[in-house]
Structure formats: structure tokens, C-alpha cells
Amino acid sequence: MLLKYGNHAQRAQHLPGIARGEVRWCQGYSEPNAGSDLANLQLKAERDGDEFVLNGQKIWTSHAHLSDWIYCLARTDPNAPKKQMGISVILADLDTPGITVRRIDLISGYSPFCETFFDNVRVPVANLVGKENEGWTIAKAILGHERSSIGRSIARQPGSAQREVVARARKHLGVVEGAIPDPLLRDEVAALGMREEAFHLTLARIQQGAESGTPGPEGSITKIVGTELKQKRFELGMKVAGVQGLGWEGPGFDDDDLEYTRDWLRSRASTIEGGSSEIQKNIVSKRVLGLPEGGK
């Protein structure tokens, strides 16, 4: 984001630290009332001389407790005619007085996400990225990038989901080789394996299309398909484990199974974070299929 939208001074100040891996950043987009409807965000940024005064709350800021800086979407013009207008991108040092960070525990027991509160936080106007009140364009560009990379990033190795589930089935059903004895289960595993192969071939086809200069519209569905595939993998991996998949911690469960169960729970977020599957489908309906705008 800084590479593309930051000014010279901002790039000089921040990029070297990022490149060296010394300074960690988090993303402050979502708020309690601005999730899917991100443009509804309310974090207030009022101009006071050459400072902005920030008041409000962000949620789901990943790794905020471990980060040094945050880039936020803030409302700089509350009277703008459309809610997409009047939004700006502002950078803040998380050590600035008035910022407090509280961790969120997920159903998996992990807590890499935080709520971040802003109480009269003062940051220099020089921390504004791009033009004031024109932050929505930047935000959309970053989200687009994030979404197209999610499908690809969860793809892993072709065939790995099938191998993982088959290995778990062997372990828990005690069948060292040959056919999985339950034909219905085997059918589900094969359906997963086929889906995985189809997904990888589709990623390859998208890649080849892009390389040959004729990108097709399929890129828009990779997040939906990839996240559903991931969830299906964990569902089946849990199913074959039976009651050994029910452990939370402690005796009677091995570490691999405990971790797998936590990962299964974590996988439920994949169709929500980074734009939910429903929101993706809204976008594909309009942009790719050209269906008319309707009730939101």
C-alpha cells in the first residue's frame, strides 16, 4: 500500500523497517458496525492544526498486540453525501497515548486478533496516505489484492488435502493400506480429492490465462472455492477421527489430533474473513454475470 499510495517521506520512513522485518503493521479496517458493510465505518478523525484526533474503535485487527504500527480507515468528513466518501487512510504508531489493544479469543482458542480502541489519539497530518477523503479507493484496491491472494494462498500442494484425510482415516480406522472400508466415507474423500484437483487445475488455468494476456473472469471465484475446500477438508478430517477429534487439551489425545481440531475450528473463519462468501457472490453477480443491482 505504501509502495503504491505513500508519498516520498512516508516510504522513506517506513519501507526500510518493513523490508528488514523489524517493524510490524496491522490493518485497521473493520469495526463492530462495519464488517461486510465496511463503508459504514465510524472511527472519527478530526483535524486540529497539523494533527488528526482519532476517536472510536477497530475490531479484528490481526496481531495488533504484536504490531508496532496500524494503518486505519477513518472518517474525516462525516457530512459527505455518500458513506464511501469522506474516508481517509491514516497511519498511527501503536505506542501513541490513547490507543489500547485488547485480545479476542477465537473458538479455536487462538487469539491473534484484537480490538483496538482510540481515545483522543493525536497523530500528525503527515501520516495521511493519499488524499484526504479519498481513502476508499485505496481500501478497495488493497481488499481486491487480499481476496485474490487468499484463494491461492490456501491452495497448498495439489493432492495434499486428499492425502491428509486419507492418512487420518488410516490412522483412526486402523487400516494400513487398501480401500477405506466404509464406502460412503470413501465416496466423500474421493469427492474432496476430485474437488481439490479441479480447484488446482482451475488455478493453473487462471495463471496460464493471465500469463498469455487473456485473463478470464474465473479469478473472482477462487476465494469462494478455496475456502469451501479448506473447510471440507477439515470436516472430513474430523469425521474420520471420530471421538479422538473431540479433545481440547490434556491426556488421552495426541498433539496432532489436538492441533487438527483447533485448525478445524479456525477454518470456520475462512469464509468470513477477507470478505465473506456471500459478499464475494454479490460481487461476482454484478461484476461478472452482470445481474442487476437489487436489495442489498
Binding site: 487398501g178 480401500a179 476430485m194 479441479a198 487445475l201 488455468r205 471465484i221 454475470l289
Partner: protein
Amino acid sequence: MSGHRAPSLLLNDEQKMLSKTAHEFIRERAPAGRIRTFRDSEDQVGFSRELWNEMAELGWLGLQIPEEYDGLGLGFFDLCVVLEQSGRELMPEPFVSTLLLGTQALLLGGTEAQKKTLLPGIAAGETLVTVGYEEGGRHGDHSKVETVARESAGGFELSGEKIQVLDGHLADRIIVSAATSDADFTLFMVDPVQSGVTITRQNRIDGLNSAIVRLDRVSIGRDSIVGDLDGGAKLLRAVFDRASVGLAAQMLGGSEQAFADTIEYIKEREQFGVPIGSFQALQHRSVSVFTEIALTRSVVLAAARAIDEAPDDVPKLASLAKATASETFLHAAKEAIQMHGGIGVTDEHDIGFYIKRAQAAYMTFGTPSQHRQRWAELHGY
């Protein structure tokens, strides 16, 4: 294929051109509604011989047939480009019987004499060759064959009955499976004019033409064997793999057209004062169909490519393509009817023909669950 570099899944410039030409020709000359016309007029042929000849002149029937047999000597991939377009309009012409079953059986197992006699005629649109394998009652298990071939003085004597033999009513040759030992069967070339062959035309939902072929002590020579004696199971499996991929290409086309017609319809049709395509319930279901079609395109292209370039990958990818395309086509056809509302279930509207073809194609060359079972076996579980 898993773990390897993906094959090229793009059409080259010639193939794009071929796809476009075929699309325009078929849309103009062979709209899906012809199926109704053939049915209602009780047409004796059930498809258009003229159109078939024209396509032969365009080179489409001989695309994959080697040049020495008067074909163009291109690949199965090229054939699939045309098959996809033929599927869009559910063409009842003998693509499956002659180009997929008959031609592939000849290419994979035919003797030089058989190929010389038949392939040039196929490329020219004059000869129809089909395969009779279905006997009914065994739900797609074609490994057990009740039709028998008894050795006789000059060769063999065939007795039995094949059902739903595609284009069996007109075929110049019918390749049939017949048991030759306890363990295996053999494929034999039968000329339907021979004594002892009775052909009874059948009518199916999907507009493809088929017939019951009854064999009553039909005498044939040893030169009628296609492939090896007692080698029928392996050869038929290989023919089915190719035919599955070709049929999957047709199903891909059928899915695309049913979907395109549906999207157009829901943009136009208004209820509650707005186009019904603005309703989110229909939008999200449309995206699901779009998604399935995108995945299907990838697997069909990969399987078609493997037939030309990576024979070891064919069994897995053929099963993947057939299973995926079968589910997608039926899904797309069901959604198409639902989104058309009442008009969608009338005979007057063409969209209903898609579900009929989808169901028939689903049941042909193995159902998705049979292919998933095979996939599991091929992957060692």
C-alpha cells in the same frame, strides 16, 4: 497429474477460431429446438444427414482421425473443441456413437483392414459406427456380458441382446461385446445387414437416437474381432475413458448454454416491478452454477489434453471429468428450469431439453459415484 506441472489448459489461436466458427454455425443451423421437431415428426433418421455431411466437409468429423485415413490428424483436444459447441445445442447428430465410441474403438483396437475400411468413411460423414455394450439390469457394470460368442467353423456365432445402442437404427457397423471365456469378453464388428440381426428403434427422453440390437446366431469371421480375443474389458475401458471425456466436453457446452439462457432470462423477466435477476437468492445460485462450470472447464480441458499427451493420466482425469461434468450439467439444468419458473417445465420451451440430456449423459459411461470409486482405487484407498 497431482503434484506435476499442470498441462496447458488454453486453446491455441487455431482452436479458438475453430471454437468460434463451430459456435456460430451450430447456433445458426442446429438450435436445440430441433429435438422437438425430430420427435414430433417421427423422423426416421432422427438427425440431419445434410448437416452431418456439411460438418464432414468442414473437416470436423475427421479432426482426430490420422491423415492416412483421410482425417486431419489433429488431437482429441481439437475434437473436444467442436464437441463442446455441439453440446450447447444438444445436437442429436451421431457424435457419441460414431466419433466417440466407434472411432475410438477402431483407433485403439482396430486392425489395419478395419481402419482402412471404416475411418475414411467416418471422416467423410458417410459411415456410422457404434458400439453396443448396454444390456440393462446391471446398473452400469459392463464387465459382465450375457451376449455370447461361440466358436464355430469359420469364426464365431453371436447371440444376445444389446439395448439403447446409440444410432443403432442406422449404423453401418455395430461393435458389440460378447463373452468368449469365463473371465473376459471380446469386441466384435457386426454388419447389421447380416442374417440374424434384428434392429428395433427406441425412443429416449434426450433426443439421441438408439435401438435394441438382437443377435440370433449371427455368424462372423475371426477378422471381425476388434482388439484382442478375451481382451474386451481392457479395450472397452479405454474406449469409455475417451468417450467420457468427449461426452464431458458436450456436457460442459450444455451447461454453459443452459446457464447463459438462464442469465439472459432473469435479467429480462420482471416480477414485483424489478428484474428477477436482482433477487439475491437467484444471484447466489447463479454464482454457484458459474463456479461449477468454471471448474468443469478446467477438468475437461486437462483430460482432453492428457489423451493427446499424457496417457498415464487418462484414467484419473477421465473419471474426474466425467464425474464433475455430470454433476455440473444436471445442476445447471435443474437450476435453469427453476429460474425460468412455470415456462421452464413446459414442452414449448427449449430449456427443458437440457435436463433430459443431462440425466441421460449422467447415466452414460458411469455415474459420478462410480467414477469416484474408481478415483479412490486409482489413488490407493
